[in-house]
Each structure stands twice: as structure tokens, then as C-alpha cells.
């Protein structure tokens, strides 16, 4: 989940257009699959497709927030020089000042944004295979963790990251995936209107504890 890493996709002569083609294909296919596999009780196919798109946008916002959060932490604490990335910083800023500057100037490269969109589409697709809040939480957490870990390992190779940095990113991935699963399940429940139902006990052990949540 390192946004600093996404930058280097540019310098390694990566062709960003290919990534955008993948994004367009994924955006055309994955929400449609989600709509087809969603519960029919949510409405007809068109309505389900719109709901799935809204869920995709919600998931994208969560994933983007995760990248921004990690970028903020990296920038404020571990990144000594905002421009050159080494220890010879001419700026003597506190972590709070650095964080403020980061949030005011946050921007992702075109390729970086494409990678985040693609990642969020895949995570969202996997999450929406769930049929209730419990499954959304579990599938969301698993999908997010797998996606983040794969991206971080690839970026560690491309960026020549140290093992310590990779470990730090894996810890961020785990925490980020847990939080993503929890928040995404509540968000998708709201989008599908499931929360308006009476609250049921969460079916942790796979047993039927009444009607589906």
C-alpha cells in the first residue's frame, strides 16, 4: 500500500495506458458479475448493477483513503525529505507540518490512480460475492489483504525496497485489510439497504441463527 512505490512505475518505463485498458475492462465486467451474483431480492438486474456500482465507488473511496493514510504516515514519520527522499533535507518540519503539507498537496500519478482503481475494482468484486454482512466483512478482509500484499511484494521488487520497509508495509496491509473489511461490510450493508432490517446476531459459526442479516 505504499504510494511512494507507485511513483516508480513511471520511471521504470511502465506503459500506463495498458493499466488503464485493464481498468476499463475490469470496470465493464466486474460490477456486472457482482450484479449477476447479488441477491435477487435487491431488485432487478439493472437496479442491482447500479447498487453494485455505488458499492464499487464506496470501496474505491475506502481503498484510496487507505493509500492516503499510509502515504501520510510514511511522509510524516519515515520520509525525511519530501522531494529527494534522502536524509539531506533542507526543511526542518515537524511531523504535524509534514502531514498538513501532504494532505494539502496529495495527488497520485495517473498510473498510481489507475492501479488504485483496478485494485479497488478487484477487491470490490471479491467482497460483493458475499451475501450478508458477515460474508462481506470476511471476503472484504481476505480480498483486501491478498491484493495489498501482492501489490506490495511486486513494488518491493520494482522499487528495491528494504526488507524492513516490506515488513512495515505488510503490517499496514494486515491492519488496513481488517479495517477495510469491517468498514466495507457496514458500507455495503447500507448501500444494499440491509441495515434497515432488524439487527440479527452475526452468524459466526456458519449456523442458521434466524433469517439472513
Amino acid at each position: 500500500m505504499s504510494d511512494y512505490g507507485l511513483r516508480s512505475l513511471e520511471v521504470t518505463e511502465f506503459r500506463g495506458e495498458i493499466l488503464w485498458v485493464a481498468v476499463v475492462l475490469a470496470a465493464a465486467i466486474l460490477p456486472m458479475i457482482s450484479a449477476l451474483t447479488a441477491k435477487r431480492r435487491s431488485g432487478n438486474l439493472a437496479k442491482r448493477w447500479i447498487i453494485c456500482w455505488i458499492a464499487n465507488i464506496g470501496v474505491f473511496c475506502l481503498v484510496l483513503f487507505g493509500f492516503m493514510f499510509q502515504g501520510l504516515v510514511d511522509y510524516a514519520i519515515t520520509q525525511p525529505d519530501p522531494f529527494f527522499g534522502d536524509q539531506y533535507s533542507p526543511f526542518h518540519l515537524s511531523w504535524w507540518q509534514k502531514g498538513t503539507i501532504y494532505l494539502k498537496s496529495v495527488s497520485f500519478s495517473t498510473q498510481g490512480l489507475a492501479a488504485i482503481v483496478l485494485l479497488s475494482l478487484i477487491i470490490s468484486w471479491a467482497t460483493l460475492f458475499g451475501k450478508n454482512r458477515r460474508q462481506w466483512a470476511i471476503f472484504g478482509c481476505r480480498a483486501a489483504f491478498l491484493a495489498y500484499v501482492i501489490v506490495d511484494i511486486v513494488l518491493a521488487i520494482v522499487n528495491d525496497s528494504s526488507i524492513q520497509e516490506l515488513m512495515k508495509n505488510l503490517v499496514f496491509d494486515l491492519i488496513g485489510a481488517i479495517l477495510f473489511g469491517a468498514v466495507a461490510s457496514v458500507l455495503i450493508s447500507l448501500i444494499f439497504g440491509e441495515m434497515s432490517l432488524r439487527r440479527r446476531p452475526v452468524d459466526v459459526f456458519g449456523k442458521k441463527l434466524g433469517s439472513p442479516v
Partner: protein
Amino acid sequence: MNVRDCVRNLGDSLRVIGEDFIKGKTFWLPVVLAIVPSVLLATKFRSNMPQLVVAAELVGQQYALKGQGVQDREEFIEGLKRKIESVLPARAALPFATPSASPAREAEDVFSDWDAMPVAVYTVKARVTNLGALSTTISRVSVRLIESVGGRMSWLGYADWPKEEAKLPQGQIAILGNPAGQAIGFKLFGSNLLDFQIVEIIGRGLRQHLAKDTSNRREILASFLRVFALNNSFRQDHLVSIADPANQARVFLVIEVEDVYGRKGLVECPIMDYGAWK
């Protein structure tokens, strides 16, 4: 649906996820087992990638005071010594001067102007080695002139090296710029680098002329520097902080080489440090 319900549902979801780590062994165990070799594989890949190791040696230093031509360091230091010698007695005699007497204005301006020392030229022999198992090409070389006082870095100048696009096969060494030494010119603003020269000249002089067992040489040096920058308290603080050995003040060049993969190699090239006057 209110905020309370949302928070309660969030807590439920967190609990479900927590329990999934225990109940969902069929998923998590293979994932964890796959991550370990993947990390090791990433490390192996990483070691194959081009790794740039830069080495540099400073072979010449030239400076110019305002209105003068560029001089070699020895010549420049001699000239600067004479100027300090002409200014310092007048400032030390200030308490005894009659109100009408004016200090040597011309000499004072040489030291107090913002562009008192506008140019520094360093000649550097530099080379870069590719320690990785893949070939690469150098895309950019840059040089920064940096002062460090008490761990705080300030940039005194920045210069681009003449364009380098050297191919660098694995294990090969590329000479950067002129093999006899590449001259890098810095346009300087402010008197920070000049302050280092002043501290070095006065500090060395005191070390030569004071008895070796003088315990308060540091305080004496600070007093001289305060007298020297009599009319400028900021300058006094800067000079004294450079002179204080606890601050480990130094000036150095940082040569940074970047390849087409965005990998960087850095080297520090010392120019002056507190060892010369402590």
C-alpha cells in the same frame, strides 16, 4: 439506522473478522505460507537489480570573494586571512574608539554582504559501479553542497552535472565526467560557507598560537567570532555554532547518481569539518 447501530455493526464485523483468522484456517494458513517464500523471492530479485555504488574524491577547491576572480583554496585563504586581520583589530578596539572614529567600512562590507562569497568551484573525480546482476544506464547526476551544524542540514548550493547517459553493464565501473576531475560551480547566496572559512582560519590560528594546555580555547574562539561579527547577532550565533565541537559542523558535497530504473546511489564528499578547528 443511527450512528450507534453503525458502530455496533462495525464492532460485530470486526469480531467476525477476528474469528475468521481462527476459523478460516483453510484460507489464512496457505496465504501466510505463501507470503514467506514470496518475501524471500522478492529479496532475491532485489539483489539482482542494479545497485549503484558511487565513489568520489575532491581534487580541487576554488573560491571567489565579491568583486574578485576565482582563486585556489590556499591563495583564497591567504587573502581572507589578511582581510580578517584588517577588520578584527578595529572591531576589538571599538570600546576605546572616539565617537567620530569609523571602522574600516570597506573591509566590513566584504564580510557582511549577502553575496560576500558568491562562487565556489569544486573539482571532483567520481565513478559509479553497478553491483547488480542487470545492466543499467545512468540517467542523471546531481550535486548538492550541504552544511550540517548540530545535525541540521542546509543546502548551500545545487548543481547539475554535465549530462551523463553512460551504459553500465553488471559489475562495471563508469567514470563520471572528466576523468581528471569534473569542475562543478556553485552560485552561493548568503555567507554560510564563508563563515566556515572564517571559523577555520581563526580556529587554526588560535590552535597554533595558544598554549596546548589552554582549557578554554573554545570560549576564546567564540569570543573572537563574536567580536568579528559585532553588528550581526544572527551571524554571531552561526559562527559560534560552527565553532562548537559539540555541533560537529561540516560542509560536504552529496553526489547523487540515478539510473533509468529510478534507483539512486549517493556519496558524501567532505570539504570542511570541525576537526580542523576543534
